[in-house]
């Protein structure tokens, strides 16, 4: 099994750390992983994206231009990545702030109100975990126990007390994800 994912949005939305937690969770179940970020000044408030690959085999290129899943968190990223989802793939997005909704007919499209759900969890930083939960509901590529281990590994020790909240956010995402179109 290989899952090639792009996560794209604004800097500060937790795009890179969502990717890191996914990658670490992959390692916890003995998979090969890669995490390839966009880097530079755009990280500081502009657009940020990261390609994450989890695979049972050696990963050839960490740099890819077709994705099994695109997780889209702003309009610029929608414009850039909608066309790069493989036919039959998944496009998951937060409709908040999206003016031009995806038009592809050959892919599964799902939405998650990440920002809204994070607000109701009273911690806006859980946004990325809500979105990750939504993704994992549709593509359960990593087991919850490995996500727990992944969180432990990727969060600094002083933030470990936040792991239960993050897990709660993942659960919320799993419950609230809406499939708009299925192929």
């Amino acid at each position: 099994m290989t899952e090639e994912i792009i996560i794209a949005g604004f800097g500060g939305q937790g795009v890179l750390s969502m990717g890191k937690i996914l990658a670490y969770s992959g390692i916890m179940q003995d998979q090969e992983v890669s995490w390839m970020p966009s880097y530079g000044p755009e990280m500081r408030g502009g657009t940020a994206n990261v390609s994450v690959i989890l695979s049972d085999d050696r990963i050839s290129s960490p740099i890819i231009n077709e994705f099994d899943t695109a997780i889209i968190l702003n309009q610029q990223s929608m414009n850039k990545f909608e066309s790069m989802v493989k036919p039959g793939g998944l496009l998951l997005y937060d409709p908040n702030g999206i003016s031009h909704h995806p038009e592809r007919k050959d892919i599964t499209i799902a939405t998650i109100e990440g920002a809204k759900e994070a607000s109701s969890l009273k911690n806006k930083k859980t946004f990325n975990m809500v979105v990750m939960g939504a993704f994992l509901k549709i593509h359960p590529i990593v087991k919850m126990e490995n996500i727990h281990k992944g969180l432990e590994k990727s969060l600094p020790k002083r933030h470990h007390k936040l792991i239960p909240l993050n897990e709660e956010a993942i659960q919320v995402g799993m419950e609230k994800v809406k499939i708009i179109q299925e192929v």
Binding site: Y24, I27, E32, S34, P37, S60, I63
Partner: protein, 366 residues
């Protein structure tokens, strides 16, 4: 338990430096490699192993601090990215001339000039053809994974001391910035002064206790003597060429078309091989691990079975010259590359390969 971590290439290299028993790191921040010095400063290796970490006032100063520490017999290293490496070339030439072992890391970005902070492989010529002034060679290792960023530190130091020659790790922004699973090596103890002398002889300037004084210099005003020194260097380089060629072949056994690529270019090309094979095109990948010495013989051998070669590089076509010199006219060699920080996608490379194969076949028919 094995020490498995998810790390950026730059971080893995920094951690590996501590574990390789390095004595000193001198550097100056530049994107996309600043994580190396940031990681080291955060880790405080002076408490873990006694390794010295110093942020210098410039790349010039940093490479000359390496010169000083390496001349004192210690395992010293520096890292930078393209524009910073240009600044270091003065010191690198002196280090090569004085035959000092050290490790220099270039996490390349696009040029020329200030260029861009995005990945490139446009410093190939600079790394493998000398770069600085004078007839000298660096032993150049090209990692293509985060694991190799870690593994090549220890290998690099060993080779540097084996030949008393500077070794360069030629990486790029993609390998430096991406995270992959990495198995970290065990901690190697830093060598004591006695061990250094026992292992590598007593050529270093450590104070002339119980011996005649030692001098580290690249200067000799007598041309007859200086030519002898140059001949000695060339003989050493020949020995390195004979003994230290490293490469990896991927699906080359039955391949009738060969891509030659290194570093992140090789990762992309691996995907091209996968995609091509799915379409029934028998592509193989030859990945030089040492860019100097270059794996000439294997490429020449592969030229007996391949109808064509493509050098895939993130530059305007630099390594292609070495591929052509290796192929020696046995088969056509083309180049595919992107520049200025653009990374070629696997599908565009595959398209170029398919076009090239069609061209070669058309010419063969004529």
């Amino acid at each position: 338990m094995e020490d498995v971590k998810l790390m950026k290439g730059n971080e893995a290299l920094a951690e590996a430096a501590i574990r390789a028993g390095a004595d000193a790191y001198f550097g100056y921040p530049i994107t996309p490699q600043s994580e190396v010095i940031e990681y080291l400063m955060l880790e405080r290796p002076e408490h873990r192993t006694g390794m010295v970490v110093l942020q210098a006032e410039s790349e010039l100063a940093a490479i000359n601090m390496v010169y000083g520490a390496a001349g004192a017999g210690k395992r010293a290293m520096t890292s930078s990215s393209s524009p910073g490496i240009s600044l270091k070339l003065e010191g690198i030439s002196y280090i090569a001339g004085s035959e000092l072992p050290c490790l220099i890391v270039n996490v390349q970005r696009g040029g020329p000039g200030l260029g861009t902070i995005q990945p490139a492989q446009a410093d190939y010529f600079q790394a493998v053809k000398g770069g600085g002034h004078g007839d000298y060679r660096l032993l150049v290792l090209a990692p293509s994974t985060v694991q190799e960023m870690a593994d090549f530190v220890s290998l690099g130091f060993d080779l540097a001391f084996k030949y008393r020659n500077p070794v360069m790790i030629l990486s790029d922004g993609a390998i430096g910035q991406m995270m992959e699973k990495v198995y970290l090596p065990d901690q190697i103890e830093r060598l004591t002064d006695e061990q250094i002398v026992e292992k590598y002889g007593s050529w270093a300037t450590t104070g002339k206790k119980n011996r005649e004084r030692n001098i580290i210099t690249s200067l000799d005003l007598k041309p007859e003597r200086h030519e002898k020194h140059n001949i000695h260097l060339q003989e050493k380089y020949k020995k390195i060429e004979e003994n230290e060629v490293r490469f990896e072949t991927i699906q080359c056994d039955d391949a009738d078309y060969i891509i030659v690529a290194f570093g992140s270019g090789a990762r992309i090309s691996q995907k091209v091989v996968e995609l091509g094979r799915k379409k029934g095109i028998k592509i193989g990948l030859l990945r030089p691990i040492t860019l100097w010495p270059f794996p000439k013989d294997i490429i020449n051998k592969l030229a007996d079975q391949a109808i064509g070669f493509m050098s895939v590089e993130m530059n305007a076509g630099q390594m292609i010259e070495d591929v052509e010199l290796s192929v020696k006219g046995k088969a056509p060699v083309s180049h595919y590359g992107r520049m200025g920080g653009m990374i070629p996608t696997p599908s565009e490379v595959l398209e170029a390969v398919e076009k090239d194969i069609a061209n070669i076949k058309k010419l063969q028919e004529v």
